[in-house]
């Protein structure tokens, strides 16, 4: 049998409104690995993730998750292929309480994390479970955004800039959580501006430029490529 990764993107073209943003993205996320997409602002990293979960106006090419084609699938069915999406803007429902946000997502598998484990990973959320989502700090919102999808039981966690705009302490806390999830065998696809955060987490890197993947290499080649990477993403 041919080996197929959990998520497999081939020649993905993507449009947002009238603008053609993705010009052929090729990417594979093997089971159990953490993949990071690096690149400057505006090269199509976030757009790639939005394309996966069906948030673009139009996409062509192929996105296969667990062997199922996502392009053309109704948006509300995509999660059931095993994808948990943590959007860049976090997407916390401001008028819902923390508890309601945690209970909001339909269970997509029986791997869904128990509330106990969630509050174990994110003790702050337990204290604030009655608070309205809109009153949370940026860090708490990010934690809630991650916790919420973990409750649904995804196989693949798609994270868009999880550390953006957060204090170093919170970044560390989120880093610890993601490492623990990785050790549990969760597969992750990560877009991250914070290169130092990504390099401690990812097994494989993809570099994007102008709507395309221009290079990819395993984490153990990172040292050798540090200069090219730095010049490309401007670290």
């Amino acid at each position: 049998m041919r080996y197929e990764p959990l998520l497999w993107i081939e020649n993905l073209q993507g449009w947002y409104g009238e603008s053609h943003i993705l010009h052929g993205v090729n990417l594979a996320v093997p089971r159990g690995q953490t993949i990071a997409i690096l690149g400057r602002n505006g090269v199509g990293k976030t757009t790639t993730l939005r394309g996966i979960v069906g948030l673009l106006t139009r996409t062509t090419g192929s996105i296969r998750m667990n062997g199922k084609e996502l392009i053309g699938m109704p948006r509300h069915r995509i999660a059931y292929t095993g994808i948990g999406y943590v959007p860049e803007e976090r997407g916390i429902y401001a008028s819902l309480s923390v508890q309601e946000n945690l209970d909001l997502l339909p269970k997509i598998s029986n791997r869904g994390m128990s509330l106990e484990r969630i509050f174990d990973l994110f003790p702050n959320l337990k204290e604030r479970r009655r608070a309205a989502g809109g009153t949370l700090s940026g860090g708490e919102q990010q934690m809630l955004s991650i916790a919420r999808v973990l409750r649904a039981g995804p196989e693949l966690l798609v994270l868009d800039e999880p550390t953006e705009g957060l204090s170093p302490v919170v970044v560390q806390q989120i880093g610890r959580v993601l490492k623990a999830l990785k050790q549990d065998g969760l597969t992750m696809l990560l877009v991250e501006q914070n290169f130092h955060f990504a390099r401690h987490l990812a097994d494989h890197f993809y570099l994007m430029e102008e709507g395309r993947v221009v290079d990819d290499f395993p984490a153990y080649h990172l040292e050798a490529r540090l200069e090219t990477v730095s010049s490309l993403i401007g670290v």
């Binding site: 979960v53 069906g54 509300h76 401001a94 819902l96 209970d103 909001l104 997502l105 997509i108 649904a152």
Partner: protein, 293 residues
């Protein structure tokens, strides 16, 4: 005597006011829920109310169903009609300017009301008050018609149940979440298109229910909804577009104030809703209970 008006007259008017207010509340609640989620100003709402009353009228006079059966069947019929309209027509306008939805639903209302006029004319049809509720009680300070008391009670009960479902159940949480950001909710695996159909059908069912409750008191006529709906829009604006509590509270409040106006200065009664709307718009444009955007 209170400000020169006998207590009996005042109390009777207040009951009539609460009775009208209960209809305002049921109708504006449905309008509010629909607007909150679908962003459609549903001008078909008055026609749904009319269809509910006619469904009860036909089910009883032609098929012999009791008022109580109609109370369940007529809203179900209106819900079905609303679901079909949403799936077949309204759905195509999501994402376009809200004006398109308004024009479409206005057109559908004209179509429904015109069709009913074709078959029944404009004259009202009588509908019997169910026998068990036909009496009146002497409360000492006033006579309370049983049917009016029942109508106020059951309408408030339905409003309360709706409010509880929206505020305290997981379905309600999904509705509120979809109101905030429906695309993301879809990404999370919630069937939002189905949720929209159900919401529109439910709003229609509330209007249909109000129509059945209204049938024994007002005449069943093709234009009964058209006459009411304009005031209901004023109620929605006063309460705050999309606010559940606002719809219920301002519905009852407006009915009561209208009734008081009838007692103290009868010519002003029809103006009261719109005068209050103007004042609210001037002082608090997002409505009494509306959240700022």
């Amino acid at each position: 005597m209170i400000f020169g008006v006998p207590l009996v007259a005042l109390a009777s008017q207040l009951v009539i006011g609460l009775f009208n207010g209960a209809f305002y509340a049921l109708l504006s609640l449905g309008l509010g829920v629909i607007f909150g989620l679908l962003r459609v100003v549903n001008f078909t709402h008055g026609a749904f109310y009319t269809v509910g009353a006619f469904a009860a009228f036909l089910l009883t006079t032609r098929a012999g169903f009791s008022f109580w059966a109609c109370l369940l069947m007529a809203p179900a019929i209106v819900a079905l009609l609303a679901a079909v309209l949403e799936r077949a027509l309204l759905r195509k306008l999501y994402g376009l300017d809200a004006l398109y939805g308004l024009l479409l639903t206005f057109g559908i209302a004209l179509l429904i009301e015109g069709t009913l006029q074709l078959f029944f004319g404009v004259a009202g049809q009588p509908y019997q008050v169910p026998a068990i509720l036909s009496g009146t009680s002497n409360l000492g300070f006033m006579f309370l018609p049983h049917y009016r008391a029942f109508a106020i009670g059951i309408s408030l009960l339905i409003c309360l149940l709706t409010w509880l479902v929206i505020e305290y159940t997981s379905l309600g949480a999904k509705l509120r979440a979809a109101t905030e950001n429906s695309r993301l909710l879809e990404v999370f695996g919630v069937n939002v298109p189905l949720l929209l159909t159900c919401t529109y059908a439910f709003g229609g069912a509330l209007a249909g229910f109000a129509g059945v409750v209204a049938a024994p008191v007002f005449q069943v006529s093709p234009l009964m909804g058209a006459n009411l709906i304009i005031v209901v829009f004023a109620v929605v604006i006063i309460g705050g577009l999309g606010s559940i509590t606002g719809a219920i509270v301002s519905g009852l409040m407006l009915g009561t104030l209208e009734a008081l106006a009838k007692v103290y200065w009868p010519p002003s009664a029809n103006l009261v809703p719109f005068a209050i709307m103007a004042v609210v718009l001037f002082l608090r444009p997002r409505g009494l209970f509306g959240k700022g955007e």
